[in-house]
Symmetry: C3
Subunit: 261 residues, 3 copies
């Protein structure tokens, strides 16, 4: 689907301070002045592909069909890692082939991936540390202006997938881990709501034991810990009006255990 | 007034890092692709309704008539606090009923408030911790696309108002307090310029005594403290090219005294 | 050149937290609702004109002809420093006359500068500490709506230029200095790639000696220091997947020495 004023979202770990993202915006608007640019975030933890992948997974489904998502969290920039375009039935993703889109691949039944090789999609002089500006931004802009996906380059059948630690299941419950800490200090685990098929008795993390699941923060008194399904669809440990990461002294990789009733 | 490309501003304490704001943007653009989104800030201090209210008070009057302002600083999300739409003669405000818009109500003579109850304005499955995405964003989008305010829900006559500490007046002068510290460390008090009806001899805060009012930072030597009316129309204590909060060791709630000549 | 939907970029040290930038956006859209606003950054280090100048130098050439760039890093706001509009053959710049655009002047052969004096370009009541909102934003908006550059005010022939420490050259090599530290802790020097006319044997900074130049981060092992030409066209010292400023304990003004083979 082609939008009249095509939407291009931008997700990076560039920060905004140095104007790098603005350089990407300039390149896109130079190629397709009708593109509408939406900042998702530029504050992904530097080099954290998993954090980028979670943000993309949470954000992309909210956008209308035809949206093009550019995401650049790219510790391997300049090396021989591939640049790719991923097309699902609804949307298009442009960025490095390092797992950044692997949660999107898991969430979609049908998709195709191509490696960006056609020089028509790339700036003639591209800087080896700035593929965001010189490869991904122009590729997205050309796609938004109607250049066909088929011309991007050859099909890719073996994209890099993220290795998220698997959730262990036994008769008593589940064992997962914290994989992400958000701005509020809320702790996102790798336990998907689909796994929570039985009634939760307790959730244990660090020294804390939480009774059952809450639906929202205000259900427990201020300063108290709770477990809930967050807006990524994952089990989260939070403190009502507090910072769980700081107050519980818990960060990424900390085990999270769920016990059935 | 309906704008051809309606403006929707976004003010939250979500940060940008996690993509939550982008989810709201996707929802709005899915409902009304013609909406033009303007980020105000997503760095309101988490849960600080007063800070959000000050930012909205300062920003909204600068926007053209017809603008819709979505603001979400919402410690009570998921509880039974109401979601509201506030219509002044010029503009529309969408967010929680927790005082976030009470300074706008004080600044406008005529307005109407409705509680968001009509399911046509709300996403069918709304997540109890993310009303920004599931209630406020779609409500703003539908209003921007022409759905009438009258259909939002029942009128609200008792909106929650912020309790800003009152300024005390006596024969010698005024006593207020610091209510906000900005990015530069400038200290905003609750003393409105309308209260400064007489000639100011000194302004006292912490251990510092400041002679009279300045009009701009460069009027005093670098590193020196001054008092001035800031762009919110409130008395502010600042240090020329310095951080008053850090250098004076002063934060919110610190008394600010004004003495007349 | 006039764009149908004119682009206006915004570069400031205002942060986004306080809504100051949003006030500028409101003013612009009130004057020219067709303007398309692009945030470059609002996280320039407060009062750092050099940092702002580098960001503008890096970003502006990526934007299409006709773009108007508003930049406000303005420690002298309210004093008698001039407000200016700079017109190059391609683009327009609006901001204080304090060196913020001096790298753009160095990079362009032909340009004209005018001081903002015409009251038609300025808000009737302008606040002495907020020229960004009351002078620069409306000037940019009026220019974007077609008001001619010639009407801004009188020509300026002596704009303030930044004093960047010069690079010393001798038979053995070059001596420059770190002038900027980016989000990743990468150290930008004042040594332009045009100066690197001979083959580099080593680059020395702090206690570190780096062999030759790299083209991209991944060329050296993780955690190792390298020197490369960055996307500003300047010599940079970086650590692959690390923060050079922190790991080497190096900041602005640190000498950077280049030795020829």
């Amino acid at each position: 689907m082609m939008l009249d004023e095509p939407l291009i979202t931008l997700t990076t770990d560039f920060g905004t301070r140095d104007g790098f993202v603005a350089q990407m915006k300039g390149v896109i608007l130079g190629i397709n002045p009708r593109a509408r640019l939406i900042d998702v975030t530029h504050d992904i933890e530097p080099y954290s592909v998993l954090e980028g992948a979670l943000v993309v997974k949470g954000m992309a489904p909210q956008f209308p069909g035809g949206t093009i998502h550019v995401a650049v969290v790219d510790p391997g920039v300049g090396s021989n890692r591939r640049g790719i375009v991923l097309c699902t039935e609804e949307q298009t993703y442009v960025g490095p082939d390092n797992g950044l889109f692997s949660l999107i691949m898991s969430d979609n039944r049908a998709y195709e991936i191509r490696e960006i090789q056609n020089p028509d999609f790339i700036r003639p002089e591209h800087h080896p540390t700035f593929h965001g500006r010189d490869i991904f931004a122009p590729t997205a802009a050309h796609l938004s202006a109607g250049k066909p996906f088929e011309e991007v380059g050859p099909l890719v059948h073996d994209p890099i997938m993220l290795s998220i630690p698997p959730v262990k299941e036994n008769a008593e419950g589940l064992e997962g881990a914290v994989i992400y800490v958000d701005r509020f200090g809320n702790l996102t685990s790798n336990i998907d709501k689909a796994k929570l098929s039985r009634i939760v008795d307790t959730v244990c993390v660090g020294n804390v034991t939480i009774q059952g699941l809450s639906r929202f923060f205000g259900e427990v008194p201020e300063g108290e810990a709770m477990a809930l399904i967050n807006s990524f669809g994952l089990l989260e440990i939070a403190i009502n009006q507090g910072n769980a990461a700081k107050m519980l002294g818990i960060g990424k990789a900390e085990p999270v255990r769920v016990f059935w009733t």
